[in-house]
Structure formats: structure tokens, C-alpha cells
């Protein structure tokens, strides 16, 4: 079981970090940084305004960056017949999806949290507020990763699945955004707990929802 887990995780990480020909983990991070860089240009050099709204911008950018790798989370492996081969070996879809959620989170959660440091500097967030942004991202990105894998599994094989996937993630991620970004407001710290709770709910249902979607796609 352990060797199997490591083999699967290693492959998933290689796929997501290096990405083959589809652009790896760098792409969402660069997108995130690009948004953070453009934001002060658009809003203007008003430091108090930037500091006040910058946290929300970081959250929106993180959400949109999480959508970028959606089309290579599940579909390529379905097309290659890998999921069928795993099924023949008695490896359950739920297990495979769990490993993939972990790999997907590792490939964009921690890099995004690192990228949030320069992004925060660009909009003049520091100290206590930066701490809240980082803790919020730590609580929210696992939920975003789970949501991404679930939606990728549901839309895999559909025509225009990638675009549809992006549209599906956005409304479902609203609670994460509301509680995560809301924690930055004065007295909103309890939002972190709710953000984390919603992440846990998504982590708990994703293996079953995505596993069922993959099986249903076979017949």
C-alpha cells in the first residue's frame, strides 16, 4: 500500500509540477503574480486604498489561479486509459483521487503562499494582515484543490469541459472566498475557522464524488 501510494504520488507530482507539455506548476503562480502586479497600476498609487482592498484581490487571484490547471487534473489520464488500468489492478478511484488532491494541493498551495509574500508587498500589506492572508490561504487552498479535482472529474470527457469546469468552480468556491477574504476585515478572524471547515467538507466529499464521476464516465 505504501509503495503504491508513493508511486502514484510521485507520478502525480511529476505530472503537475513539470506538466509535460501543458505548462507546470509555474503557470498558476506567474498568473497570480501578474494579477498582483497589475492591480496597483489599475487602482493607482493610493496606499491606504491598496492596503484595504489588496487582501481581497489576493484571494480572487488565488481562486482564478487554481482554475488554470483544471483540464490536466483528470482528463489526460482518462484518455490514456490509465484509470482503466488502475481499476484492473484493484486500485479504487477514491484512493486515486485522494492522492491527486494531495498532489494538486502541493503543486499550487505552497507555491501560491510563497508568491503571496511579494504580492502582499506590491499592495502594501504586511504584519498582522499578511499573517492572516497566509493562514487564510493555508486553510482555503486545500479546499480549492479538492474542488478543482472534483470538478475536473465531473467535466472530464465533456465537450468544452475545461471552460465549463472553470465556470463550475467559481460559484462553488464562493464560501471559501467569503470566509477567507472576510477574515481580513476587522473582527473577521473567525472567518478562518469557517474557511477551514468548508475546506474540510470539500476534502471529505471529493474522493467519493470524483470517484463516482469517473466510474459513471466509463459506461
Amino acid at each position: 500500500m505504501n509503495g503504491q501510494f508513493l508511486a502514484l504520488l510521485r507520478r502525480d507530482l511529476a505530472q503537475l509540477f513539470l506538466g509535460g507539455r501543458r505548462g507546470g506548476a509555474l503557470l498558476p503562480v506567474l498568473f497570480f503574480l501578474a494579477v498582483a502586479m497589475l492591480y496597483p497600476f489599475a487602482v493607482g498609487p493610493d496606499a491606504p486604498l491598496l492596503g484595504k482592498t489588496g487582501g481581497g484581490m489576493i484571494w480572487v487571484a488565488a481562486l482564478l489561479a487554481a482554475i488554470l490547471p483544471l483540464d490536466r487534473l483528470i482528463e489526460p489520464d482518462l484518455e490514456l486509459g490509465l484509470f482503466d488500468q488502475w481499476a484492473l489492478r484493484g486500485i479504487s478511484e477514491e484512493w486515486l483521487v485522494s492522492v491527486r488532491v494531495l498532489a494538486h494541493w502541493l503543486s499550487f498551495g505552497p507555491p501560491l503562499m510563497l508568491a503571496a509574500l511579494p504580492a502582499s508587498a506590491l499592495v502594501g500589506i504586511d504584519g498582522e494582515k499578511l499573517r492572516l492572508v497566509e493562514i487564510g490561504l493555508l486553510a482555503g487552498t486545500p479546499g480549492l484543490a479538492a474542488l478543482g479535482v472534483m470538478v475536473a472529474a465531473i467535466t472530464a470527457g465533456l465537450r468544452g469541459g475545461a471552460a465549463l469546469g472553470g465556470l463550475l468552480v467559481i460559484p462553488l468556491a464562493v464560501p471559501l472566498l467569503v470566509f477567507g477574504a472576510g477574515s481580513l476585515a476587522t473582527g473577521g478572524e473567525s472567518g478562518l475557522a469557517l474557511c477551514g471547515a468548508f475546506s474540510l467538507v470539500l476534502l471529505a466529499i471529493t474522493p467519493f464524488a470524483a470517484g463516482a464521476a469517473i466510474r459513471a464516465g466509463r459506461s
Binding site: 508511486a7 507520478r11 486509459g81 482503466d84 484492473l88
Partner: protein, 192 residues
């Protein structure tokens, strides 16, 4: 080799509104091979997927004892990885096994990314993956597609050897497949 057998009773397959075949039964014991023949679209691949448990049968039951190995039109190897690494991934899942890739003429291709391989070379690679799996029941969907005469002979030898060692092979192919002690099912006999 692990104990193995397949029994199918009264199988029917439906794709969309069309009933492809019905009332299909057969049983295979260790060492036996079965070839499914029939024209395109008659349900050979669907039957293979039903036997593999990847698709539900519309009616009837399938009983399989022993691990299943499947080769179909998708090699299930990462296209951007060199062949050696792509096969090594399956080896990590399936456990170590004596490397017979050389028999399949793949030894020189180990450094070549899978996406640069020809159809026939990909088929050979998929067969190498199948051998590494050491499963007693082989389900082969059009195993000769894209292979040259030498490759085809090699695959038939491989299947014959597998059956001699006590394995089972189910081959869906419209091409003649030369293996001793082989049953044959014409799917058109089961079209209603």
C-alpha cells in the same frame, strides 16, 4: 501461475438504443485461449470491457478468477516520458518482474519519449506493460493492430507461451490469430 478461470453466462450488451449481442455464454479454464471475431462495431471491444469489469453487461453474469491484464488501443503510458520511465511507473505498481522488453524489440527505444513511438512500437510497449503485470488472465483488444509480420508472430508466440504456462487469453481481433487449443466465437451468431 495463479489459479484462473472465466465464465460468462447469457451476456448481452447494449450501446445506446442498439442491442449489440445477446445470449453469449462461454467458459475458459487455465491454459485456454478464446478469439472473438466479427466485423467492426459488432461489440468485440465492448465484450472485452464487460469481461474486464469496466462496463456493466446489459444482461447476464461474468465470473472471473485471477488478476486481469488488459491491452487495448490506448497504451496507458505517459506520452512525454521516455519509454523506460513510463514502463518503470507500472513496474513500481506491479512489483519487480523479469524484464522481457528485449524480446519485444524495445531495448533500443527505452530513451525515446512515448509520443515519438510508432503505432506498432506503442503496441509492443503496452504488451511489455502487460507482461510486467504478471496477470494470469489476458484481455487483448486488437493486439495485432499496427504490428508488422514479425511483431505479430512475436505476439502470437507470447500468447501461446502464456497459455502453456497456465494462463488464459481472450483476444478480440478480426485478423487470424494462431494459437493452439483456441476457441472461437463469432459474435454475429449472437446478434438478435
Amino acid at each position: 501461475m495463479q489459479e484462473c478461470r472465466i465464465a460468462a453466462r447469457d451476456l448481452a450488451c447494449r450501446r445506446g438504443d442498439r442491442l449489440l449481442f445477446a445470449g453469449l455464454s462461454f467458459a475458459l479454464q487455465a491454459g485456454q485461449a478464446l478469439q472473438l471475431v466479427g466485423s467492426n462495431g459488432i461489440g468485440k471491444s465492448s465484450l472485452i470491457r464487460i469481461l474486464a469489469g469496466l462496463m456493466p453487461a446489459y444482461a447476464g453474469t461474468v465470473e472471473v478468477v485471477g488478476a486481469l491484464g488488459l491491452v487495448d488501443e490506448r497504451p496507458a503510458l505517459d506520452p512525454h516520458l521516455p519509454l523506460g520511465q513510463a514502463l518503470a511507473f507500472w513496474q513500481r505498481l506491479d512489483g519487480p518482474h523479469d524484464n522481457r522488453a528485449a524480446d519485444l524489440g524495445l531495448a533500443e527505444l527505452m530513451d525515446v519519449p512515448v509520443r515519438y513511438l510508432s503505432t506498432g512500437q506503442k503496441k509492443r510497449a503496452a504488451l511489455a506493460r502487460l507482461i510486467g503485470q504478471a496477470a494470469p488472465v489476458w484481455l487483448l483488444d486488437e493486439p495485432l493492430n499496427g504490428l508488422d509480420t514479425r511483431g505479430a508472430a512475436l505476439v502470437m508466440d507470447m500468447v501461446a507461451g502464456h497459455c502453456r504456462e497456465g494462463g488464459i487469453a481472450v483476444i478480440a481481433s478480426h485478423q487470424p490469430f494462431d494459437v493452439a487449443d483456441k476457441q472461437q466465437i463469432e459474435l454475429k451468431d449472437f446478434v438478435r
